[in-house]
């Protein structure tokens, strides 16, 4: 996704949570506690499996 720059603001991502309602909710993603922590709860560092299948070449931000 292209980021957007105006004179004072650089919009890094416009990802809309509300829009994710259109495609989300399939439940195929990982349970967050099955990852590395086992002691906390973070979903933000997970990926959407549906999006991942759709456009693997555009993945950014994860596993940096």
């Amino acid at each position: 996704m292209e980021s957007i720059r105006t004179p004072h603001i650089h919009t890094i991502n416009r990802a809309s949570l509300r829009e994710s309602l259109e495609h989300g909710g399939c439940g195929e993603c990982q349970a967050s506690c099955q990852s590395a922590c086992k002691t906390s709860c973070t979903v933000a560092n997970q990926q959407c499996k549906r999006q991942e299948r759709r456009s693997p070449e555009t993945k950014r931000g994860a596993a940096v």
Binding site: M1, T11, G25, E28, S32, A44, G61
Partner: protein, 442 residues
């Protein structure tokens, strides 16, 4: 709700309702100051035309839905409970280490018999999961303990059974394992690297830190043995996922050095987690440690960025945020799914909401060997989502952490829906740094 913050030299604004992240210059940052009086004072320092220009930019963002977007999502978005798709299989309530900070009491979960999961219980658990998974195809089973390698022959048979059931049902098991790395023989490594989609290797970082908290039953440090096994496993793992996972305590609040020690030892994927301890143990994290912990995350993030600039990057679990392909809103509302879509299974087949509940009186919610499952308990956990947690309503991080770990909430506050504040504060700090690191990529 808009959260403005500074991290790693960047001025940033997160729009909570939309998930949009903005990097700001000085005037834009001032124009989003949450205090109206302070905002007016700050903006009075700029020429009038600049103030008007920034106001116009912010208005455009509001019109596009990327600023001040409504975040009044409601629970009607969530599906009815019923499906279970992930489980933590306690392969052994036994361990070959005597870690001082173990929340499971040296891996036994207070089980004096130090039991190990029979193959038939593991098979029954997978069958139960398949039966409870509805239309979900991707299922997860994490081998945990105690130390699961103490029961490796059973783990191997259970995985083989899972593969057979995949062919019969069209489901796909993602098997993972969490190990202290002491039992990593060549054949164990081959098995894990062939079959496990993720492997969590428990190593605390610096030798002296590791050995202080992770002795064996004889009191000897385990660092050298664990490191050797873990490196041999990683060396044969290719690009499959793994984490070298440490624990920090009050004894090593300078845990940046442990994360870097793991990276320097040869691990590309690192996680260092706060200890789970709520008593008066000397290693427990307490509120007075919080300023030091937050400062240390700043130090870790700076070192993380520096390593990337030097061309020797490593990944740190809590600094990974996927801004474009991240989880959908429904996932963000429901979190880890403990007790709802995720359960833990004891060696005898008893079901608990998650591994941290195992052995806690009153929290057994079923039996995988008989198929019994407490639907009321599942509904209780399903309803314990972030929208139903009063303390989370005004928190900017609510759609990143989903209201935090309910096991920690229960242990600290005596209720599932009141988050553990020390955990919240550290989570918010890690998220700010993760967002700043992500912004640097654009």
């Amino acid at each position: 709700m808009v959260h403005t913050f500074e991290a790693l030299g960047l001025k940033l604004a997160l729009d909570v309702g939309s998930g949009a992240l903005h990097q700001l210059d000085g005037i834009a940052y001032d124009a989003l100051n949450p205090d109206p009086a302070e905002r007016a004072r700050l903006l009075s320092r700029y020429p009038t035309e600049e103030g008007a220009a920034i106001a116009a930019e912010l208005d455009e963002l509001r019109k596009s839905g990327a600023l001040d977007a409504p975040d009044d999502y409601d629970a009607s978005l969530l599906s009815e409970p019923g499906v279970v798709k992930a489980m933590c299989l306690h392969a052994a309530h036994d361990c070959n280490l005597s870690c001082r900070y173990c929340f499971a009491r040296e891996g036994t979960y207070s089980d004096p018999s130090r039991s190990r999961m029979p193959v038939e219980v593991g098979k029954a658990a997978l069958d139960w999961l398949i039966a409870k998974s509805g239309s979900r195809r991707a299922l997860e089973a994490d081998f945990f303990g105690g130390e699961p390698l103490l029961n490796l022959p059973a783990v191997m048979e259970i995985v083989a059974y899972g593969r057979k059931r995949e062919r019969e049902t069209g489901k796909r098991f993602s098997f993972t394992i969490t190990t202290n790395a002491l039992g990593l023989t060549d054949s164990a490594i081959r098995f894990i690297n062939d079959e496990m989609d993720n492997c969590v290797l428990s190593l605390d970082g610096r030798r002296e830190v590791h050995d202080r908290m992770r002795p064996d039953a004889g009191g000897r440090g385990s660092y050298d043995r664990a490191l050797d096994g873990a490196l041999r496993l990683v060396g044969g793992r290719g690009d499959k996922s793994y984490y070298a996972r440490g624990t920090f305590t009050a004894f090593n609040l300078d845990f940046t050095n442990d994360a870097l020690a793991l990276a320097d030892a040869g691990f590309a994927h690192v996680s260092v987690e706060p200890v789970v301890a709520f008593g008066d143990e000397p290693y427990a994290l307490r509120p007075e440690h919080l300023p030091r912990i937050l400062e240390e995350y700043d130090t870790l993030a700076a070192a993380y960025v520096q390593r990337r600039r030097e061309g020797r990057p490593f990944s740190f679990f809590h600094f990974n945020v996927d801004l474009e392909n991240g989880p959908c809103l429904r996932k963000r509302l429901t979190g880890c799914g403990a007790g709802n879509e995720y359960v833990a299974v004891t060696p005898e087949g008893k079901l608990y909401p998650c591994h941290q509940f195992v052995g806690r009186e009153g929290w057994e919610i079923g039996d995988a060997t008989t198929g019994a499952f407490d639907a009321d308990a599942q509904r209780l956990f399903a309803n314990n989502h972030v929208l139903n947690k009063p303390d989370c309503r005004a928190c900017w991080a609510k759609y990143f952490c989903s209201g935090g770990c309910c096991a920690n909430a229960l242990a600290m506050n005596g209720r599932l829906d009141k988050p553990y504040e020390l955990g919240c504060a550290t989570q918010r700090k890690r998220l700010e740094l993760a967002l700043a690191i992500a912004a640097m990529d654009y």
